[in-house]
């Protein structure tokens, strides 16, 4: 009862403030009258009685205030008054308000944008029930590199381990969907029947896969993503049970996944079908290839360590029912990592570095606004002293000032959300291709909460120091002496803030500089081919027609002829792997006579058509290139790369040597030539072994090949003509990954570039803020020292001396900041190490040039106030006193 009474009475007072005040005044007045009447009754004259009553009761206003101060509504009332007052003050200083709000909007907006990207990727659990129990499992190759799991190992682990509620495997699958429209290549996965159950998300429409159908020559079944279902099938729920055509075969749709289902382990997938491997595990089949991604759901309460021990026990004691071939013997312990960390591992360093950078920027923005507030606090001391003299408590004044800064921060935060909205779009556009969960990046509830919390913390932290300083107890002194003399001490703190700002800006600038130079170094690396003027696209021979190998060869040959006829194309060729595109297929190699005495386990296999080296601009080192004469019936020819040749045949001629590539009992290839090294996986990784064979002479027919076409003009402009040439041969074949080779190279460094662009933007903003900070402090100090400067000039100092005086003050702050910043940058660069390439994190050239830039900008920021100081008119200033 009393709480509701508290609330309703308070609310009544709030909504009818005037009436409530009137009632209170009436009550006090009545009290006064009654007291007076009592005194009159005791024989005093009305006047004396009134005075006695007033003496007894005290000041009626104070009594009213005493009563008014009671109740929660009074606090609300005070805050509303504070807000009104703050709004009025901010409106009256539009310049200050605009600068502070925009500075904070920039800082909060940038941090919010980065947070909205980092939060779903690094911090939020993956979008599955009990996602903390999901793990990925990797096998290990010869050099401890993670290796995909074989189906055989999956079968054995499923049967023999107890730690998991479910294990599932998946491999990538790119079927071509044919319908009335153009053929479309889908991203999808082949999965074991347990896949969706293990993730814990079942189809929204239709049903999950059935284990009984997961067998060789089982029925063709497909589950669709919500996006594909809506986009291509109009969201028609009768789709379940109907058949669609994928790769020229009929697949029955058994289900549609719920909206928003993310196939995190397989990045973006729109269709899933069953793996349908043979549980009899024939040793020649794909069942023993390291080609599956394995995920597991731990039983509740089972730790990752326990799961690893469980795996170890299985791996160490083979049983006859699961005989393992030597390459899948699980001799090294399997590694189990949480799915979340596995998914985010590759992008974590860049994201954390960018997050750190943006927080630095936010701090700089706050420091800048604090500086402005301190300057204004000096101007407001008179006003505050007056209010204190009139009886305002210090806490009340601090609250008032904090209300102002909070208001600035919240307006800044609101604008910041708009900045974040734009920033997120830019981020997604810039995002490196390996960035997981891009779909979840966006401005949402968590982002808004972050912006709100950030604004509040910012508002309090920027306001507290200036508020305490402005309301310090020597207010009375301020009132009597004016602001000039009281200004001295807060100069020290403003100077400190500028030093901090310069130091933080330098940290950001050095980081950006290091990243910039890394990227320059990276792109200065010779990829081994000439990327300019090359258009590439990935073609495929899908469908029943091409189950026949010779039809496939013929198809690609006809496409090549058609592309070569396109005007503007000077040469064209196919390769099974495109450098720097993410392709990376390796095979074992066995030399007939191996001088180093061992077989090679990871050799990049390129099945290419003659003319590939010429088209790509890959230089021949010795021997000959692959030629049109190296056809299926001719002796098998093979070209290796330079570092492979040097390593394998040091000081000997590799030409004429023979080797198996791939299967041990495969045919012998004879080395006919050596070419320059080509960067395959990344510009930063060197020394890979490579072997080139003619597509006609491969031991299997590649059905996915990348076309490379060298053009005379802009390669991008020829894309439509080349696509039409491809479709002129077979209009049902999909074309994917159309890009110029220049773009492919640029994209290969996307993660570094992403970090670089973010750092560059933040560093520039930080530099601008630091310059504004230096300028603000110096110009404030010049205005306060006008009299002193006037005296100096009057006593014979030259304007040059005055300029030097002011510049020295500014540069002293800058240099202190630079020294601290250098220490900070040296420490912070440690966090960047994984993103750097080809330079030391302490690269002197970078540090020097960044310091030079910063000092130059700082000098310019000092220059304006110095120039103004030199123009002080001594007679005017002296007379003004």
């Amino acid at each position: 009862m009393s709480i509701s009474r508290q609330f309703t009475r308070g609310l009544r007072v709030l909504t009818r403030r005037r009436a409530a005040d009137q009632d209170l005044a009436d009550e006090v007045e009545h009290y006064l009258e009654q007291t007076t009447a009592a005194h009159i009754a005791r024989g005093l004259s009305p006047e004396q009685a009134r005075r006695a009553a007033q003496l007894e009761i005290g000041n009626a206003t104070v009594v009213r205030e005493q009563v008014r101060a009671y109740g929660w509504e009074n606090a609300v009332d005070g805050s509303i008054a504070d807000l009104r007052y703050a709004a009025r003050r901010l409106r009256r200083n539009p310049g200050f308000t605009a600068v502070s709000v925009l500075t904070l909007a920039l800082g909060i907006g940038a941090s919010t944008a980065i947070f909205s990207a980092v939060n779903p990727i690094l911090f939020e659990p993956l979008p599955y029930p009990h996602a903390d129990r999901l793990v990925t499992v990797w096998d290990h190759g010869s050099e401890d590199a993670p290796l995909a799991i074989t189906f055989g190992s999956y079968r054995e682990l499923t049967a023999r381990t107890r730690s998991f509620e479910g294990l599932a495997v998946a491999s990538s699958w790119q079927p071509t969907l044919s319908s009335d429209a153009r053929p479309e290549r889908l991203d999808g996965q082949r999965v074991s029947a347990s896949y969706f159950r293990t993730l814990g998300v079942l189809p929204a429409i239709g049903r999950d896969f059935d284990a009984a159908d997961d067998r060789p020559s089982g029925p063709n079944m497909v589950i669709l993503s919500d996006a594909l279902w809506r986009g291509r099938f109009g969201g028609d729920s009768t789709i379940v049970g109907r058949a669609i055509t994928l790769d020229d075969a009929r697949y029955t749709v058994v289900g549609v996944m719920p909206r928003g289902f993310e196939s995190v382990p397989g990045s973006s997938a729109d269709a899933w079908t069953l793996l349908q491997y043979a549980s009899s595990l024939p040793s020649e089949g794909p069942e023993w290839g390291h080609n599956l991604r394995m995920i597991g759901r731990l039983r509740p309460g089972v730790s990752i360590d326990q799961a690893m021990r469980d795996f170890d026990a299985v791996a160490r004691y083979p049983v006859p029912e699961f005989a393992r071939p030597p390459w899948a013997a699980m001799r090294k312990p399997l590694s189990v990592t949480s799915l979340q960390s596995d998914v985010t591992r590759s992008v974590k360093p860049a994201l954390l570095a960018v997050m750190g950078a943006v927080l630095l920027l936010l701090v700089i923005a706050c420091v800048n606004v604090t500086n402005l507030l301190l300057a204004r606090g000096a101007q407001r001391r008179g006003e505050l002293a007056m209010r204190a003299a009139l009886g305002a408590e210090r806490a009340r004044l601090v609250r008032q000032l904090l209300t102002e800064t909070l208001m600035i921060a919240v307006i800044g935060g609101a604008l910041g959300v708009l900045v974040a909205e734009l920033g997120v779009r830019a981020l997604v556009a810039l995002a490196p291709p390996e960035l997981p969960r891009v779909a979840a990046v966006g401005v949402n509830g968590a982002t808004l909460a972050f912006a709100l919390v950030a604004s509040t913390i910012v508002g309090l932290s920027i306001g507290l120091a200036p508020a305490l300083q402005a309301t310090r107890s020597d207010l009375r002194a301020a009132l009597s002496t004016g602001s000039r003399r009281a200004a001295g001490s807060h100069h020290a703190s403003r100077g400190t803030l500028v030093v901090a700002e310069v130091a933080l800006a330098l940290v950001l600038m050095v980081s950006a500089g290091l990243l910039l130079r890394s990227l320059e170094r990276l792109f200065a690396i010779d990829p081994g081919f000439t990327p300019s003027h090359i258009l590439t696209m990935r073609l495929e021979a899908t469908g029943r027609v091409y189950e026949n190998d010779s039809a496939t060869y013929l198809y690609f040959q006809e496409v090549l002829d058609a592309v070569r006829r396109v005007p503007g194309v000077t040469s064209a060729a196919f390769t099974s792997q495109l450098p720097l595109s993410g392709d990376g297929d390796t095979y074992g190699a066995h030399f007939e006579s191996s001088p180093t005495g061992r077989n090679e386990s990871a050799v990049f296999r390129y099945a290419v058509t003659p003319g590939y080296f010429e088209t790509m601009g890959i230089a021949l080192v010795r021997g000959r290139a692959l030629a049109t004469t190296d056809r299926a019936v001719a002796p098998l020819a093979l070209v290796i790369n330079e570092s492979f040749a040097k390593r394998k045949f040091p000081g000997r001629n590799p030409l004429g040597q023979r080797l198996h590539l791939g299967p041990d009992r495969g045919p012998w290839y004879t080395i006919v030539g050596v070419v320059r090294d080509v960067k395959q996986l990344s510009l930063a990784v060197s020394e890979a072994d490579a072997a080139y064979i003619p597509t006609d002479q491969s031991w299997f027919a590649d059905r996915v090949l990348s076309l490379v076409a060298r053009t005379r003009g802009d390669p991008g402009a020829l894309a439509p003509a080349i696509e039409n040439a491809v479709w002129s041969v077979d209009k049902n074949q999909p074309i994917a990954r159309v890009a110029t080779m220049d773009d492919v190279v640029a994209t290969s460094a996307a993660q570094r570039r992403f970090a670089l662009v973010a750092f560059e933007a933040f560093a520039l903003a930080a530099l601008a803020l630091a310059a504004v900070g230096i300028y603000g402090v110096l110009s404030g100090s010049v205005s306060e020292r006008v009299r002193e400067l006037g005296v100096r000039l009057a006593l014979g100092a030259s304007p040059r001396d005055v300029v030097r005086l002011v510049m020295r003050q500014g540069m002293a702050l800058t240099v202190t900041g630079v020294v601290l910043g250098l220490l900070g940058a040296a420490a912070a660069s440690r966090a960047l190490i994984t993103l750097l390439f080809g330079i030391s994190r302490l690269d002197p050239a970078t540090y020097f040039s960044v310091v030079g830039l910063l000092v130059g900008v700082a000098a310019a920021a000092c220059g304006v106030p110095a120039w103004r100081a030199a123009r002080v008119e001594p007679s005017v200033t002296l007379r003004a006193e």
Partner: protein, 111 residues
């Protein structure tokens, strides 16, 4: 009556108000005068404290307040005890008597 009164014992103002109002509804000044008279001028009630206390007791649900015309035909705010207020008064009065009795025993104890 001309002896200068002292302020009420801290913490007892609520009890004094509740007791006074348990007899009849009254306005603020009436309460103050009644307390002074009954205490024979020992206690003097401060107007500000009294009005704040009335506000608080009303919010707590122990008092009701209404505007009435007073004996000299002025508008005055009359306070009366609610049912909860009466219960509260009885509890506080019992508690006070117990403690005051204890203090009195301690003071009168010999040697």
């Amino acid at each position: 009556m001309d002896k200068p009164g002292t302020d009420v014992i801290p913490g007892t103002l609520d009890l004094l108000i509740l007791k006074t109002l348990s007899l009849e509804p009254m306005h603020g000044f009436g309460i103050a005068r009644r307390v002074e008279q009954v205490s024979r001028g020992v206690f003097k009630v401060n107007a500000g404290s009294l009005l704040v206390a009335l506000q608080r007791l009303e919010r707590a649900g122990w008092l009701d307040a209404e505007w009435r015309t007073s004996e000299n035909s002025r508008r005055a705010k009359y306070y009366s005890l609610t049912r909860a207020g009466r219960k509260q008064f009885e509890a506080e009065a019992a508690d006070w008597k117990r403690r005051a009795g204890a203090v009195a025993r301690l003071l009168s104890a010999e040697g």
